[in-house]
């Protein structure tokens, strides 16, 4: 394949990866930013979103598009609900202690994965894409659905941006992020904010998973890779900085696409991990993070 089309395909693949990654990582970043909780179970919430999407599409009759839209609405709500319960039952009781919550979310990860294995089974199951449209370029064909994923992820991220900067809920979340005690002194119910943020973070991962599941299939072990990549993105972008997360997701996603294509996917992972190490050594606050 000639260089031009090769690069085009690499960029398209990279963009799809970047947009899904941006959605997933923004959830992780939000949870860390507001709650100071390193949520190791984030990948499990991603997986739950995909599994829930499979169940919803099985139950909703009619064309694939109807089932998919239902999944896009219901799956994140269900996952967010599970996350809120986990927050109330586990994290709150630990007083959101940073070390204790890491261990607790590791436990949560195993519980969710094994629960999915028990209820959903060990098989990878496909979810039909809402539409079956293929773009035929002169050099190669490409799935139209993948381009839809990019657009949908951009729309959700745009909405998240508006909520965080323009709405009262966003203001409350930002206030809690800046200073928990002062926020409490101003009458903000911090417990509710925490439960809401944890649910929102998990919900974002679930949205990403619903978008990805027609491309990838739902599988109980699918959360590992998104978790690792989200951590890479959040560390490079700066923990808790939404803008940094978006920028890092684009950098990592696109470079992953291009390096995977021109060299090997293994090399792409090696370089991304190396970048994390470099950032931690030379700029521990991340590209956009504020120095504490």
């Amino acid at each position: 394949m000639a260089f031009g089309p090769f690069l085009l395909l690499a960029l398209m693949e990279g963009l799809v990866a970047a947009s899904v990654l941006a959605l997933t990582a923004s959830g992780l970043s939000l949870v860390f930013g507001v709650m100071r909780v390193v949520n190791v179970a984030h990948g499990a919430f991603f997986m739950l979103g995909a599994v829930a999407a499979w169940f919803v599409t099985q139950w909703v009759p009619g064309p694939a598009a109807v089932g998919f839209v239902a999944a896009l609405v219901l799956a994140p709500v269900v996952v967010a609900g599970i996350a809120a319960i986990a927050d109330r039952l586990v994290l709150k009781r630990l007083g959101y202690d940073p070390e204790a919550t890491i261990v607790a979310t590791i436990g949560l990860l195993y519980i969710l994965e094994q629960a999915a294995l028990g209820l959903y089974g060990p098989d990878a199951r496909p979810v039909a894409a809402p539409f079956d449209w293929r773009i035929q370029l002169p050099w190669f064909g490409y799935s139209g659905y993948k381009l839809f994923v990019v657009a949908a992820a951009a729309a959700v991220l745009g909405a998240l941006w508006l909520v965080m900067t323009r709405s009262r809920a966003g203001l409350v979340m930002r206030a809690t992020q800046v200073d928990r005690q002062t926020a409490q002194a101003f009458g903000i119910d911090v417990d509710r904010v925490y439960a809401g943020v944890f649910a929102l973070g998990a919900g974002l991962a679930a949205v990403a998973a619903v978008l990805v599941v027609p491309i990838q299939q739902a599988h109980y072990l699918m959360g590992g890779d998104p978790l690792l990549m989200s951590f890479i993105v959040v560390i490079i972008g700066g923990l808790g900085s939404l803008r940094g997360t978006l920028a890092a997701a684009l950098i990592i996603g696109l470079s992953d696409g291009v390096i995977s294509m021109f060299f090997t996917p293994t090399l792409a992972k090696i370089l991304a991990t190396l970048a994390v190490a470099m950032v931690l050594v030379f700029r521990p606050q991340g590209l956009f993070g504020a120095r504490p």
Binding site: M1, A124, D132, Q136, G141, S143
Partner: protein, 426 residues
């Protein structure tokens, strides 16, 4: 698990020794089983992990074969029991499962693992524990001499034989310039090494080798590495994402020009070939060890096997048409169980003390004619390399169904012995 310790077993040996197995099977009522302790076989099962699609069907096939064996009177007149243990398709866990089945469950022999990295990780433990370990794996690791005298593969042919026997047909009918896409671990390397060698022997050339990790979830980025001058695209993939792989292959070529495609059915095991997005496979070819779609010339053994396991004419479960079987692999569990039966009966197996005699009895086996015990077809066992040889099939997708277009001979897949396990110490 501790039942064996406490169940009194009076007279088992006496009965066996005095009367002989044939007399028991013919002369005693079924109730006599209550007195004879069962033969316990361990099954190392990929119930979870990346091999779960296979595991589901391996378990069903083994259960079906078990029922047939017990209906026939068991082994040496004793009923047979299978203890299934999940290894998560994980080599480390695999070795622990072997240990657990042999030491805790007290199994007489262990069989059933498929994935080559798990087999390679587990077989040394079986050798240390001196328990017969009959794998259903396809890998060349048995015949290569990498494993040990306790490890045998009597139920399925190995990759080396498979690719060697099919290369001439691929070269003659599809093209000479081949690009290979294979999983990046032991099983894939067997494909890479021996198909490349076989292609060269036929005057063809493998122009690119693309290795993909079996845990990969996205494949489009690997596909541009396929050179434009490729005449035949050879693909073999495993793992939970095989459907994605084939779909993305279809998206990538779209309606544009594409090479001939020759795939191992592994890329579509447990996947419905009529899935949306797979229409482009029409007219492409697949290797099959056992035809998923019931062919017009299917004999009585094939019909019996299909019904016993519960597979319909399209290769799916009779209770759920969407639950597609791993038809080209799972027969190995059935055939291995019958080989265990034959080996134990030939060696007069009475208990773990006879394990060595049992392995020697299997090593002495040669021709295995097509029968109810060997529904996939006739086979030839090589006692030196511990590997069985048999027929391979090439099928073409016609009207969304895999129809056989070629059958290799057993000799097509044979190669010089690389090892003689039978001279090794136990």
């Amino acid at each position: 698990m501790t039942k064996g310790l406490f169940t009194p077993q009076p007279g088992r040996r006496a009965v066996l020794g005095g009367l002989g197995a044939g007399l028991i099977a013919g002369g005693l009522p079924r109730g006599a089983w209550a007195q004879s302790a069962p033969i316990k076989l361990g099954f190392q099962l990929h119930r979870t992990g990346i091999g779960a699609g296979y595991g589901r069907w391996y378990e069903r096939t083994a259960q079906a074969a078990l029922k047939v064996v017990n209906d026939m009177g068991g082994i040496n007149g004793r009923p047979v029991e299978i203890v299934f243990e999940d290894d998560g398709t994980d080599p480390k866990r695999g070795a622990e499962v072997v240990e657990k089945l042999a030491s805790q469950a007290g199994c007489d022999a262990i069989f059933g693992p498929l994935f080559s990295h798990v087999v390679i990780g587990s077989a040394p433990r079986a050798g240390e524990l001196k328990v017969p370990y009959l794998v259903c794996s396809e890998g060349y690791h048995v015949a290569s001499g990498m494993l040990n005298r306790w490890t045998l593969q009597p139920g399925i042919t190995d990759v080396r034989a498979q690719v060697t026997s099919m290369a001439p047909w691929v070269m003659a009918n599809l093209g000479k310039k081949v690009t290979m896409v294979f999983p990046d671990y032991a099983f894939g390397y067997d494909h890479r090494d021996f198909f490349t060698e076989a292609v060269k022997a036929q005057g063809g050339e493998v122009i690119a080798q693309i290795a993909i990790p079996p845990t990969e979830t996205s494949f489009t980025r690997y596909l541009p590495q396929i050179p434009a001058e490729t005449e035949v695209l050879y693909h073999v993939m495993v793992g939970p994402a095989v459907l994605t792989f084939v779909k993305e292959l279809g998206e990538f070529y779209g309606t544009g020009a594409r090479p001939q495609i020759f795939g191992f059915i592994d890329s579509l095991e447990a996947v419905d070939i009529a899935s949306p997005g797979l229409e482009f496979l029409e007219g492409t070819h697949f290797w099959e060890a056992h035809n998923r779609v019931k062919q017009a010339d299917a004999g009585a053994d094939e019909v019996f096997y299909r019904a016993a396991v519960g597979v319909d004419d399209n290769g799916a479960s009779i209770s759920d048409a969407a639950d597609v079987s791993t038809y080209s692999h799972m027969f190995s569990c059935w055939e291995t169980l019958f080989t265990i039966k034959a080996g134990m009966e030939a060696s007069g197996y009475a208990g773990p003390a006879d394990r060595q005699k049992f392995v020697e009895a299997i090593e002495a086996m040669t021709a295995m004619p097509a029968s109810q015990a060997n529904p996939q077809g006739a086979k030839m066992f090589n006692g030196k390399t511990h590997q069985v040889f048999g027929h391979q099939f090439i099928s073409k997708v016609e009207g969304g169904k895999l129809m056989r277009v070629h059958q290799t001979t057993m000799e097509d897949g044979m190669y010089p012995d690389a090892v003689d396990y039978s001279t090794m110490t136990f």
